[in-house]
Symmetry: C2
Subunit: 458 residues, 2 copies
């Protein structure tokens, strides 16, 4: 292990260059104009896997964007780790708020700025760099399987089918994903709970065309106003969701878990800096950490209707659209929540509107087991990489593949995150700090050693 870590330390400048090259590819999965960029990123990663000593490397087609796969099988007696990452990124909008262009990555004061820096290109690169370092000194002490998908940011619509097709090939002892954040700089953490997601689009259609608000206003139902009233009927002032049945399957937090969550350190400074005046809001009776990690939520992600340009246009719009998503906790079912949402929207809609409700993406919430050898291996690996044992916490985001790993492959997952809470995920000026990248590489290197040791095969 020490030889691999020494090698990685000598190779840091080159590792940063490799990360920047990957970040320069605008592999935005939600926009069809970037389909070629997605393919370029997949090809580059396949080449990286080969260089890192993985074999059987291939780019698998799916109904959507491809999956890149490679493996290193040492010995059936050794533990096998299945590593997942995603090479697609969120759209960079609003572009005007970026200090440097999102796909022209820059390193400023040991911080990499680019779309995808932390989510997830920087974190998946830590794994590839660790495997490459082991390869330079003789290879990992574990069996390794790596798969990287290109549709995480659009809800992984084709990953389930790919996992089912390759289920026997993907058999392993544990899955590892690095696509989350540590609690704070210097405070490593392992996320053991993730929220699920039900992402909906509501289109309210009224008049057959845009109308003059003077000639028709007061006698024609305005779909933008009506949609606002529908949205207002989805949650209370404090955010508590008012969709009937929404909370029926929510597992109550017991006192032990509340106490444990309360003890986890939390970077309120970063949180408040990002949230500004809008912090301090949320469902009555729950702490900030509970609201984010252990309670479901509903957010309007986008709104558009009528005239959105400069100045005044007296239009009575023909339609209005909202994107609305709900974060879910065990045991909420994203399909059921989507149905309850649609029922309630239709119940709130007035006569005179034609309502279209589309379910765009769904993901199950997940809670990972904490009493397995891989979890202990991850704990000791963080001590090597960041000098401290991690704390265990729950996070508000969704990583749909965690539920798929459990359901389709029967695998527990260890979420070994190297990001920071202020990395501006899905926002302008996304960043990944080099200290986190280098610590992440060392942690990944140490994990293979610790996992082999935990299985008595080091």
């Amino acid at each position: 292990m020490h030889a691999a870590i020494e090698h990685a330390h000598r190779d840091r400048d080159a590792a940063v260059e490799r990360l920047l090259a990957l970040l320069a590819i605008p592999s935005v999965s939600t926009q069809s104009e970037h389909a070629d960029d997605i393919r370029s990123a997949a090809s580059l990663l396949a080449e990286r896997m080969r260089t890192a000593g993985l074999t059987g490397v291939r780019v698998d087609e799916t109904e959507g964007h491809p999956v890149v796969y490679g493996e290193r099988m040492v010995d059936d007696g050794r533990p096998t780790v299945l590593i997942y990452g995603h090479y697609d990124v969120q759209p960079p909008d609003p572009l005007a708020l970026w200090t440097t262009p999102p796909f022209e990555p820059r390193v400023v004061d040991d911080v990499v700025f680019a779309r995808g820096a932390a989510d997830d290109k920087g974190q998946l690169s830590a794994h590839l760099e660790a495997i490459a370092a082991w390869h330079a000194v003789g290879g990992t002490p574990t069996n390794v399987k790596v798969f990287l998908e290109g549709e995480e940011e659009i809800g992984s619509p084709n990953l389930g089918a790919w996992l089912r097709t390759h289920a026997s090939e993907l058999q392993a002892d544990v899955a590892v994903i690095s696509d989350s954040a540590m609690i704070a700089r210097g405070t490593p953490s392992i996320v053991y709970g993730l929220r699920g997601l039900a992402y909906m689009e509501v289109i309210a259609r009224g008049p057959n065309q845009d109308l003059h608000s003077g000639l028709y206003g007061g006698a024609v139902l305005n779909p933008a106003g009506a949609l606002a009233r529908i949205i207002a009927g989805l949650q209370g002032e404090d955010g508590r969701v008012t969709i009937p049945g929404f909370y029926d399957r929510v597992r109550p937090l017991d006192d032990d878990e509340r106490a444990e969550l309360a003890a986890v350190p939390f970077d309120t400074t970063s949180f408040s800096k990002a949230a500004g005046r809008a912090a301090g809001w949320g469902e009555a009776g729950f702490s900030l950490k509970e609201r984010i990690g252990a309670r479901p939520s509903l957010d309007v992600n986008g709104l558009v209707s009528g005239w959105t340009g400069e100045g005044a246009k007296t239009v009575l719009p023909s339609s209005a659209t909202a994107k609305i998503s709900m974060r879910l906790v065990p045991d909420q079912d994203p399909g059921e929540i989507a149905r309850l949402f649609e029922q309630h929207v239709r119940a709130l809609a007035p006569e005179g509107l034609t309502i279209e409700v589309r379910s765009m993406t769904g993901a199950w919430p997940a809670v990972c087991p904490r009493d397995i050898p891989a979890m202990r291996a991850a704990e000791s690996a963080y001590e090597v990489g960041f000098g401290r044992a991690p704390v265990f916490t729950r996070e508000g985001g969704s990583i749909p593949v965690v539920a798929d790993m459990a359901e389709i492959l029967g695998l527990p997952t260890v979420l070994m995150g190297f990001g920071l809470p202020d990395d501006n995920l899905h926002a302008p000026n996304e960043k990944f700090e080099l200290g986190q990248f280098f610590g992440g590489i060392d942690t990944c290197i140490a994990f293979h050693a610790a996992l082999a040791e935990a299985h008595g095969t080091s």
Copy 2:
């Protein structure tokens, strides 16, 4: 008069060509990128005025877009008519819904399709063609003053100052505006009541930047959701405005006026075709015609926040913007309504939002006198142009200059409209029918004769 009408009939093809040339100029007043087009339209109209025999033609600068002025002074003993029009147009968006490009005017089956065809380039052209026809046979029997502004669609912010500066030069017996619609094809009408306008923009700001809805959702106030709840607090399900004090100055409709409005024919077929399922909505206790013409209303004209592109983006937006306008009736004061609106929005806004409320344009409601010689002249002119005497009605739109004419110049206004209710004003595929254009030219020609006769100077 007959000679002028005969001349106009012979000149119809050329008049259509002149209208198309004017419509080809994208003189959109609300978008600064069209400033040069505004100037081109003003220059073209100044040239038309000169050709029509007007003198002292000039393009007056203002703080915004220029005013084009010209006159024909025959004799102090004759009545003087002040003709107003506007050469600016609404933005053409959404472009995708136009059958032909908005600034490449086409004549299809005797209908001109283009942005501004009816509002107001086609209607102001009817006046210029009428003056030109009189010029060809010796000149109008009236004194004529014409002024054309370039800021009507943005609320005429600089017209008041221009009118005040030129008040003595603009003295006349009556003002005439053709910027409204007849009730139906074959049913001429004179609008004697117009609604006012208070157009507001509300910007709700929450977090300091766009956030990841998973990492922050449930613990940070979402400005898009909050803005929806604010909008929902502005009016009831039936559109009745819930802003305290909003109705305090609304003049009640008396039984006579209600009976008279009820007797006016109304093209419910065109109305229903445009409004679709959204028709049949409005304030309880009032008829459709009352809701449009004699009651105030509130409409959301535009909404934008967060992700509005293709697919799903799990963003918790940092801000949300709504454009909201209210149509006013006598004796509502647009300045007072703007203040009441802002107060109520601030009262509805939750802690954690920074709210900006901007008053974008305002216009007073107006009711025109019906017992003046010019009104009788207009009645007989419609009989010449359209074969029927007009009915009198109230309209939902706003023509701010009507209130300015009364207040600054002390002038009554006759609203001699030649449009039709289905002309798609402010909407895709705006049109002006050639039958309306030709009938409008004849009506304008006849109006000068009838006004001179009413004053005993024909």
